[in-house]
Amino acid sequence: MHFAFTDEQAMIAETAKAFFAANATSERTRAAMARTGIDDALWQGFAGDLGLAGVAIPEDQGGVGLGMVELAILAEEAGRHVATLPLLASIGLAIPATLAGGRTDQTARLLPSLASGELVASFAQAAPGTTWNDRTLTGAALHVPHGASAGLFIVAVGSDAFLVKRSAPGLSVAPLTSLDQTRPYARLDFGGVAAEPLADPAAAIATAHRTGALVIAADALGGAQACLDRTVAYAKERIQFGRTIGSFQAIKHRLADMMVAIEQARSAVYWAACAIEEGSDEAQFAVHAAKAFACDTYSHAAGEMIQLHGGIGFTWEHDAHLYFKRARSNASLLGTPDWHREQVAQRIGLDEAA
């Protein structure tokens, strides 16, 4: 038992921190928001130059061969800057689905280009009524993160899962104007689209949900920490009534409460990361806990960031709304905090007879 980063993990965190601080600037984020929600140069730097898109892909499949803790570290640091990367879509969802559920030839074909970042993929939950017949899909998927930028989709249809290429005839991809422009959704319409089944769809879907929820929770942790750090900095410089607003107990206590929640979220995220990595019986439980707790913490912290900044926090110019909107999107994706708590309720035996 050693519940702290190893030296190597601390180094990865430092590298990622420096990379995002230098590159995921507000200016570049806003430029990406106005287009696809991906800063291509940032993605090239992250996936291509640093080779980090393949963080949790085994080395013999073109990856770095690290695990869930390292993935959580990267997602946390990206979240700190609301970085405009397909980190959830490609690294948090599509790669784990492919690794867990793909046939050998599918993984061999796809993982090297997913690891290098040349191929961006996303995960699409098909809407009810979507069907697979004659090796083709008919139906739709309504909210696919970074869907308009993906060259490949893993499509979950009930308990089945398929690979669908962006270029497949009959697929239409409509970018959606999204509340969170750093991770916009697209709608997919499948009009008899060729779809290749994955070998183990159950494993693909479960692994994508689990890893995706961990990545969202870690993103929420980094985002919430940024909300706190930036609001503390502001409270130390903003002067009203002849004193810094951070000297008022009404403000101090709210900032302290944010930290209390964030430290718990940190425990939750790294508990979940370790539990998955170590194959613990508690892994699924830990993921539900982390997703629920970290998303609630982020929503609260981002709301507090706006409130404690006052009027400036309500402007488009200030970054507070980027966090506020990412927090909202994090809460909705892959199950709301209430839904995850209900899963916990079922797992602790509330439905057993007294």
Binding site: M1, H2, F3, A4, F5, T6, Q9, V69, L228, V232, A235, K236, R243, T244, G246, S247, Q249, I251, K252, H253, L255, A256, D257, M259, V260, E263, Q264, R266, S267, A268, Y270, W271, A273, C274, A275, E278, S280, F285, A286, A289, A292, F293, D338, R341, E342, V344, A345, I348, G349, L350, D351, E352, A353, A354
Partner: protein, 393 residues
Amino acid sequence: MKLGFSQQEEAFRAEAAAWLSAELNGPFTDVRGITSLVEMPERRRDWEKRLGEAGWSCVGWPREYGGRDATLAEQVIFAEEYARAGAPPRLNHIGIELAGPTILAFGTDEQKARFLPAIARGEEIWCQGYSEPGAGSDLANVRTRAWHEGDVWVIEGQKVWTSLAQFSDWIFVIARSEEGSKGPKGLSFLLVPVDQPGVTIRPIHQITGEAEFNETFFDGARTESANILGAPGDGWKVAMALLGFERGVSTLAQQMGFRNELDAVIAAARANGEAKNPLIRQRIAKAEIGLRLMRYGALRMLTDAEGGKLSPSALTYKIQWATWRRDLGELAMDVLGQAGETVAGQDYAFPALPNLYLYSRADTIYGGTNEIQRNIIAERALGLPREPRGDLK
């Protein structure tokens, strides 16, 4: 980063579990499952002695002082197994968790040899003399005085909220030893025997109807010159270091107690059908998640402490658990409904869950109120300006 335990550590777990099970299903079956701090004090003194004899009392201490030189992981494991076995709260928890570590850190070799083995053997029970009627949140506003007279310290004044003083042999006291000094300056940390004419203990009946806390009066009380930790005037430094020891391994044992309380709430909800109420389900799930996160927060804290670092979660831990437990008390009453508000018989003595509802109101006060905790977090962790002091007496 790793959460699992090694094979060797698991072997230690099996050894501890086997010993605890044999004792608590054998000679000490009568104290198994006790949760109150004040029930069956004589038998629990015996239990302290038994733990000491077998070397399971203070597992993290050095062997020469009655410990077992256990590693951090082993201490964690023992704390968990102790609670899992249904062993009672430690009657001497203040000696083991506060006085002992403080003596280990600040004591002379003579003091360590004099006091530590007696704590480890369960022979001397300790209590804590910090708060006073005028020194609550403003703890440094101590008025109890101490002065040298020949080869003894003489102590005059009053302490309050001294938990378990009625069972204690020793009390550690912060007292003003420099006349005219103010605030944290001029205080000394004294070790004082309780059983003497100059010390009077009067129980305080609390909102539960029980009396765990006391007022302790010092009226010309005496202790030997040598019974001071640190130098005269350095008492505040020692007193504050001691508060850091509250965030030790014992938090894990405390959490196992919380586990039992939450399980009792879950059982009650299943029994009366409230477990099907979606709002109650959400709150129980929240409590469950909160408890798990306490464990992992504690493991972070302990890992960091082993590496000589103060974890950020160490500063947030008190308000976290205290608020969690207060919320659990409220949840318990919402689950029980009016059935929780009455009790059979004439005595004002409620069962565990209603008692939790009442007792947990103390959790957010003692050891630094939630409001003081927020000040500490804001000032020490976030670097925000300190609260200004007033000058009212």
